[in-house]
């Protein structure tokens, strides 16, 4: 036993899978300790907020030092940057007004502005300009004149009059350290459609999905093992009956049965545990089949015959002479069952037949929400890509471990 485990850790496949899996487990269990709180709490940054550092506006304004970071604030502050639209309009005006532009470098904002200031006169009548156009130039001129001089004030509602009263002025050159701001949130993976922290939700979902996989895998493996053992060892009519049931389950895709059971249960009754059980009860067939064939080949081995001749009971033969031989195989099947259980839950949830949405998140539910709120249409990759990646990583690590075990347990693959 010890030797087998040592051999397992000599298999690169197993080690890589194991490290990934344990890493994920650590993340799942350690993250909530450092960042407590319900994974389904809506933190109010808004639907599909991009990944990044968020500061609560409300908390910022209410604190002693206030600042708001506005889009292109730096440009506004310099006051010397023209938009392309304005530049084209100004050059057009120069042409119409007959201003000499031969020496003008159109890309030099400062030169264009200077020429504008020197020549523009709102009262000057220029031929070929509509009234609307003239008003446009007037507004442009005003805007250019005010540019760089806008002042921002923080206002509060006066308690008595109910009117807005200036509280303080925001200095253009003032910066504030984010550490001094209350309620800063780093949303590494942004938020989902309900404004929930994706990372926290994802880790909680991974935990739930693993639990579902574990429960489903255990149930499927137990049923498969017991039926396979009985049908393989006892044989005869018992084998025929069990084989018949197995054939039925093989012919009807288990996913269809899964959908039908889930559908008939109704959303309110489907907790994560119930879904896991349904998955488990529908996916035992392949385990049963392969255990059965292994037992059949073991049944006629001489050590079983000898055990019979020694007068051992049926149960004892099964537990000491058959089970240990197929145990490694069953462990491998169990690992694959976990991974397929997780995938089955994801499939069900995508169809809207997963666990109920109010209790715990699962990987499938997160995918389902992302699809429901068109995350893929509006470019919110963070709402679905990390989920897909996590599902892939879980199955990948489990399958790697399985291959590694195969190399150790399967004498045909040993080098």
């Amino acid at each position: 036993m010890k030797n087998t485990i040592r051999q397992l850790f000599h298999s690169p496949n197993f080690v890589v899978g194991f490290v990934i899996f344990v890493g994920m487990l650590l993340a799942i269990f350690l993250y909530p300790i450092f960042h407590p709180g319900s994974p389904l709490e809506m933190i109010g940054v808004g639907t599909f907020a991009k990944p990044g550092l968020y500061i609560s506006v409300y908390d910022s304004v209410n604190s002693e030092t206030e600042t708001l970071r506005l889009p292109d604030a730096d440009e506004k502050r310099s006051g010397a940057v023209l938009s392309d639209e304005d530049r084209v309009a100004m050059i057009e005006w120069f042409g119409k007004a007959g201003v000499d532009t031969t020496n003008l470098d159109a890309s030099d904002d400062a030169a264009v502005l200077e020429l504008w200031k020197a020549n523009y006169d709102p009262d000057k009548t220029i031929k070929g300009l509509t009234k609307a156009k003239r008003a446009y130039y007037r507004r442009l001129n005003e805007a250019l004149a005010n540019n760089g001089e806008a002042e921002l004030y923080v206002a509060t509602k006066d308690a008595d009059s109910g009117e807005l009263v200036e509280k303080s002025e925001i200095d253009k050159d003032a910066y504030v350290n984010t550490k001094d701001v209350a309620n800063v949130k780093r949303l590494v993976l942004g938020t989902d459609n309900f404004g929930r922290d994706m990372l926290k939700e994802l880790l909680a979902a991974a935990k739930t999905s693993l639990m579902i996989g574990l429960i489903a895998g255990s149930i499927a493996t137990m049923i498969g093992l017991i039926l396979g053992l009985i049908s393989g060892y006892v044989g005869g009519i018992v084998d025929d009956i069990i084989l018949f049931v197995m054939n039925i389950f093989t012919v009807i895709p288990s996913f269809v049965i899964l959908i039908l059971i889930s559908y008939s249960l109704g959303q309110s009754q489907r907790g994560a545990g119930v879904v896991a059980m349904i998955i488990g009860f529908t996916s035992w067939v392949w385990t049963a089949r392969s255990v059965r064939s292994q037992v059949i080949s073991l049944r006629n081995r001489d050590h079983v015959n000898l055990s019979k001749l020694s007068g051992h009971s049926l149960l004892r033969i099964i537990f000491t002479d058959i089970l240990p031989y197929i145990l490694s195989y069953v462990v491998m099947a169990f690992i694959l069952q976990i991974s397929s259980g997780i995938l089955a839950e994801a499939q069900l949830s995508m169809l809207g037949l997963g666990p109920k949405t109010t209790e715990v998140p699962t990987l499938g539910l997160m995918m389902s929400w992302a699809q429901l709120y068109s995350a893929h249409m509006n470019g919110s990759w963070w709402a679905y890509f990390p989920v897909i990646f996590t599902i892939a990583l879980i199955s990948f690590s489990l399958n790697l471990m399985n291959t590694g075990m195969d190399q150790v347990f399967n004498p045909a693959l040993r080098d």
Binding site: S307, L309, S310, G311, T320, P324, Y325
Partner: protein, 291 residues
Amino acid sequence: MSDEVERRAYNKDEVILSGRGVTKVFVNGKVRNTAVNHVDFDFHKGEFVTIVGESGSGKTTLSKMILGLLPITEGTIYFNGKERDIRSGHKKREYWKNIQAIFQDPFSSYNIFNKIDTVLLDCINMRGGRNLPKEKKIEMMTEACRFVNLEFKELTNKYPFELSGGQMQRLMIARIFLLKPQILLADEATSMVDASSRATILEMLLNLRNETGMTVVFITHDIGLAYYISDTVYIMEHGKFVESGPADTVILNPQAPYTKRLISDVPKIHEVWDLSSVDLELNEIKKDSAK
């Protein structure tokens, strides 16, 4: 140059196991395959019997039926003069106290998860020694190991697969020594061990018979070995016994055409191995493939 092998005479009147019309038909869908076809046999107390047959002759099927591991399609097996009754688990266990087996492949005869101690203790328990003091049990195991030239002290806490094939087969004999059944069925017990171990195992089987008066039924494809070891030889072809009798008579003066062919086809060292006699066979194959 060497002394005659010691062979204890057996009592020709005391039949311990006999079969009348024993038949096994395997049914697979509509295909009926008769593996053993109405065979009769009488094994006496203390007799060393060999059943010789080539692969596919049904000798292993017959041995499984004698052991009670395979149901008989037709016919009866008598044990100690009475019809054998193994219809319930309890009766089977009673029967198995009297008949034991050694199989061909020592590597698959042991449960690789059980230690050697477990294998031997099991035998003591089966013989009703469950409540014996520990020292007594160890003494019995040591004695059994000594009988097959193994040292129990070196084997304790080891697994069977740590031994060589020959040693594993000898441990099987130690097991039989502890169980002391009335009949031992050895199915190709030496065909997977080396020539030097084979000699040891055969000698031990003979000793076991000589000392305990056990009936040994040895199943083999090796007619030379059968001749060497047994009192009585049964020659089996296609599920039937074509010839049986004392070893000297059957081997040195065969009557059945199959026995004659079998003996002439085995390479020998004193007589000439006549290769030309197979020409007939060749022609048959030619005809066969022309169809």
